[in-house]
C-alpha cells in the first residue's frame, strides 16, 4: 500500500490533499452555519478567472486565483449585505458570469487547453513544489485567522444581530471570513478542481452536523471526514487510475450517506 509514496509526486499530492482537506473543512463549518454554501461554488468559479489571467499573461495562476477570488468575495459580501433579498440570484449571476469570462480570456489568449481543464477538475498528481509552498504560505495565514476569530465567527453564525449588540465587529469579521474562504478555495482548485471544491468544503460539515454534537466536536468530525475522504480518494485514484478530484468527492458523499444512516432519527 505504501509503494505509492515512493514517488515524489504522490508525496506532494498527499501533502497538498491533507492541507486542503484541513483548510476546506474548518472554513466549511463557518460557511455552512452561515448558510453561505452557495458562495463557495461561486468563489471557485471566480478563482478560475484568476487562473485564466495567469495562464494567458504568464503569471502564477494560483496567485492570480487568490487575488481574483478575494476581490470577488468582497463584492459578494457587499452585494449580499446591501441586497439581502436577492443574494442567491447574485451568486448565480456571478458564478456563470465568472466561468464565461474565464473561458473567453483563455480562448482569446489561445490557451484553452489542458491547463485550464486541470483547474476545472483538479489535477492533484501534477501539484508542484511551488504549489505546495503557495498552499502552505497562504494556507497558514488563512488557518491562523480562522483560529484567532473562531469564537467570534461562531457567534456571528449563530446570530448576527445578537453578536452585533454584544460589541462584535460583525461587518469586518464577515469580510474577513469571506476573504479567508476565497483564499482557501483558490488554493484548493489545483487539488480538487473548481467544479468540485464546493463539495469538499460543504459536505464534511453537513455530515458532521448529523451527529448533533457541540461546536468543537462538529469541527473535529468534519475535519476527520475531510481527511479520510482525501486519503481514501487519492489512494483509490492511484490504484484504479481514477481522476483524483472526482474520487475524493465521491468518497466524501459516501461518508455523508453513511453518517445520515448512522444518525437516523
Amino acid at each position: 500500500m505504501f509503494e505509492m509514496f515512493e514517488y515524489d509526486f504522490m508525496q506532494r499530492a498527499f501533502l497538498a490533499g491533507v492541507l486542503i482537506a484541513t483548510l476546506a473543512s474548518i472554513s466549511g463549518t463557518f460557511i455552512v452555519l452561515k448558510r453561505y454554501s452557495m458562495m463557495s461554488e461561486t468563489l471557485a468559479h471566480s478563482a478560475l478567472v484568476g487562473v485564466a489571467v495567469g495562464l494567458v499573461a504568464g503569471f502564477n495562476p494560483l496567485w492570480m486565483a487568490v487575488v481574483v477570488a478575494v476581490l470577488s468575495a468582497w463584492m459578494i459580501e457587499y452585494l449580499r449585505s446591501t441586497f439581502a433579498l436577492y443574494s442567491d440570484a447574485i451568486l448565480s449571476i456571478l458564478l456563470s458570469g465568472s466561468l464565461a469570462v474565464a473561458i473567453i480570456i483563455v480562448s482569446l489568449g489561445g490557451a484553452f487547453n489542458n491547463s485550464l481543464f486541470s483547474y476545472l477538475f483538479g489535477s492533484i498528481l501534477s501539484v508542484s513544489q511551488a504549489d505546495i509552498l503557495t498552499i502552505v504560505g497562504f494556507g497558514s495565514v488563512a488557518l491562523l485567522l480562522l483560529l484567532l476569530f473562531s469564537k467570534e465567527l461562531y457567534f456571528i453564525a449563530y446570530d448576527e444581530e445578537v453578536a452585533k449588540t454584544s460589541g462584535i465587529k460583525v461587518t469586518l469579521l464577515n469580510y474577513l471570513l469571506v476573504s479567508v474562504v476565497a483564499i482557501i478555495i483558490a488554493l484548493s482548485i489545483r487539488v480538487v478542481g473548481s467544479l468540485l471544491i464546493g463539495a469538499l468544503m460543504v459536505i464534511p460539515t453537513v455530515a458532521a452536523l448529523q451527529f448533533r454534537v457541540g461546536f468543537l466536536k462538529t469541527v473535529l468530525i468534519s475535519l476527520f471526514i475531510a481527511l479520510g475522504s482525501v486519503i481514501v480518494g487519492m489512494t483509490l485514484s492511484y490504484y484504479y487510475s481514477l481522476p483524483s478530484g472526482a474520487t475524493i468527492v465521491l468518497c466524501v458523499i459516501a461518508i455523508f450517506i453513511l453518517s445520515l444512516s448512522l444518525n437516523k432519527r
Partner: protein, 257 residues
Amino acid sequence: MSLSFKVPIFDVKNINFSAASQHILSNVSLEIFNGEYIAIIGPNGGGKTTLARILLGLTQPTSGEVKLYGKKLKAFKNWEKIGYVPQRASHVDENFPATVEDIVKMGVTSKHSFFSILSKEEKQRIEESMLKMDVLDLKEKMVGKLSGGQRQRAMIARALASKPEILILDEPNTGVDMVSQKRFYALLRKLNKEENITILFITHDVGVIADDISRLFTVNQKITICNSPKETLSCDEMSALYGIETHSIHQHKHHEH
C-alpha cells in the same frame, strides 16, 4: 421621579420611524434608569420590537436620537453592559451545533479580540450564569433538544455571562409553558432586585409581572408611559387602549389570589 438627576442608561428623544410609507413610531421619547424593571406592551405591529431594535442600533430611526450611557449609539463601546435576547431566540435552528455551554460562552466572546482562551474568572462567570438561570445541569445538552423553557433560560444565561447592567428581552416567552414562565419571572425578579440589573421586557402578557415592574410603556405608534403600573393596569384608559391585555391581566390576578 427621584432618579431624574442621574444619567439615564437610555435617553431617547423624539424618535420617528417609517417603513414603506407607513408610520411605525411617532415622536417617541423615553428615559430608562439604572435598576428599573420596565415592561413594554402594545398590540402586534404597534412598534415594540422596532423600538427595541432602535435602542440597540440594529434599526436606524428616520429621525431622533438615542443615547446610551450618555453617548450616541455609534460612539458607544461598552456593549458588554447590554444583554439582548431577541424574539426569535426561542426558535433556534435545531441542528445548530451548540451545547448550552457553547451558547453561554458566547456571552464572554466580545471581550476577546484575539485567541479566545477563557480566563479563570470568565469560566467562573459562565458557570455562575448557568447556575443563576438553572441550566448548569444541562450544560452538555444540545440547544436543539431543550424544551422551550430551558432554551429561554439558556439564552438569558448567555446574556448574563457578559455581566450586563441592562437586559433587553423581546417576548422570550413564545412557546414556553406556564410553569416554566412562572419560574422565569421569579428569576427575572431576583436579577432585578438582588443584582440590580435593569430589565426592559417586551411582552404581550404583562399581568403576571404586574407586581414586579416599576414602570409600564405602552407602544402603539406613540408611547404612553405609566409611572405607577399597578394602578394603571386596572384603569379604564388601559382597557380602552388594550382591551385584550387588560382582560388577561385581570385573569392572571384572579388566579394568583
